[in-house]
């Protein structure tokens, strides 16, 4: 458990960023691999940028309003 926590703190140390990036990657993987979602492939790039920005806004909002 200690090792996992150390790795988590070393790599990211922020649950909001981790969840945001993991969600973005999952959605991109689905768009890339599920046939029904193939028409959305063209939006993968903008989606990734928006997801990254949304993660940043979410984590900063949490810090600003929790204090």
């Amino acid at each position: 458990m200690k090792i996992i926590k150390a790795i988590y703190n070393f790599i990211v140390g922020d649950m909001v960023i981790l969840i945001g990036v993991a969600l973005a990657v999952t959605v991109l993987a689905l768009i890339n691999n599920v046939g029904a979602l193939a028409p959305l492939k063209g939006f993968s790039g903008p989606f990734l940028i928006i997801a990254v920005l949304a993660s940043l806004v979410a984590t900063l909002s949490r810090e600003a309003f929790s204090s």
């Binding site: 960023i17 990036v21 990657v25 991109l28 890339n32 790039g45 990734l48 940043l56």
Partner: protein, 274 residues
């Protein structure tokens, strides 16, 4: 010597070398040069081993998309963490941790005690890994460029080895040029304030992370590698907007605290003088 192949490999490799060198440079300036250079050397050794064992088959055996995804996601996580902390420092939500002053203080104390100052060259795992994976990924891309350009140049009159040698020479020249230019940029960069550097590193890591993660999912970025600059500009604008917004939020919170503190005083005064 195939000049067309050498020039094409030079130009394509220069872009990759610039990307790798930028990250080594910022790791060197923000973490320390020992970790940055050790990471770059370890990546170069891994690359040499891969090229020596796999040779031309490297193009078929190394899953470049999987590698891009892993490195891209890691860079995104590192980058967002750095960017978040830098934005919070600029907005006043976090104390500006002036490491340079602390470092100078530690050095002065060590000197006073007559001890050897090892903090400047202390090995840092974060810096090492950041430098290692960036150089490995970009180095692999250079290897791919050399092999594909070299092989595509092979015709009935030009042998495969001649094509690859020409492409390799072009790439080598690009690498040397980027290192030379970087060596000159290193000194002025060291004078930039710590939080500014961390902010820029955060923007850059997030930019590269987004770019490589996108490429791993077959995203075709407009203008190819030039889109890195556009991405950096998007994140820069967003980061500045967030700083302005957070400063305003902090101001409002402070005003509310002052208002809450002054309210009971008014009530108390009214009780004394009805």
């Amino acid at each position: 010597m195939q000049w067309v192949v050498a020039t094409a490999a030079f130009l394509a490799s220069a872009v990759e070398f610039v990307e790798a060198f930028t990250i080594v440079l910022v790791v060197g300036v923000t973490v320390n040069w020992r970790s940055a250079l050790l990471g770059a050397l370890a990546a170069a050794a891994t690359l040499a081993l891969l090229v020596a064992t796999l040779g031309v088959a490297l193009v078929q055996w190394v899953p470049i998309d999987a590698l891009r995804l892993v490195i891209g996601v890691l860079l995104l996580l590192f980058g967002l963490k750095w960017l978040k902390n830098a934005i919070m420092r600029y907005a006043g939500l976090k104390a500006r941790h002036d490491e340079e002053a602390i470092y100078e203080e530690n050095r002065a104390q060590l000197r006073a005690r007559g001890a050897v100052d090892a903090s400047a060259s202390r090995f840092d795992l974060f810096g090492f890994l950041l430098s290692y994976k960036s150089v490995l990924l970009e180095g692999l891309e250079v290897a791919f460029i050399v092999i594909t350009f070299g092989l595509s140049a092979a015709t009935s009159t030009v042998s495969r080895s001649e094509g690859i040698t020409s492409a390799a020479l072009g790439a080598l020249l690009a690498g040397l040029l980027v290192i030379l230019v970087g060596a000159f940029v290193r000194i002025p960069l060291a004078k930039v304030p710590e939080n500014t550097l961390k902010f820029v590193v955060g923007i850059m890591l997030t930019t590269f992370g987004t770019f490589w993660t996108g490429e791993a999912f077959s995203v075709v970025w407009p203008l190819s590698d030039v889109f890195l600059l556009i991405l950096a500009a998007i994140y820069l604008v967003a980061a500045f907007s967030l700083i302005v917004w957070l400063k305003r939020v902090k101001k409002q919170q402070r005003a509310q605290v002052i208002e809450n503190q002054s309210a009971p005083t008014t009530v108390q005064r009214q009780e004394v003088n009805p």
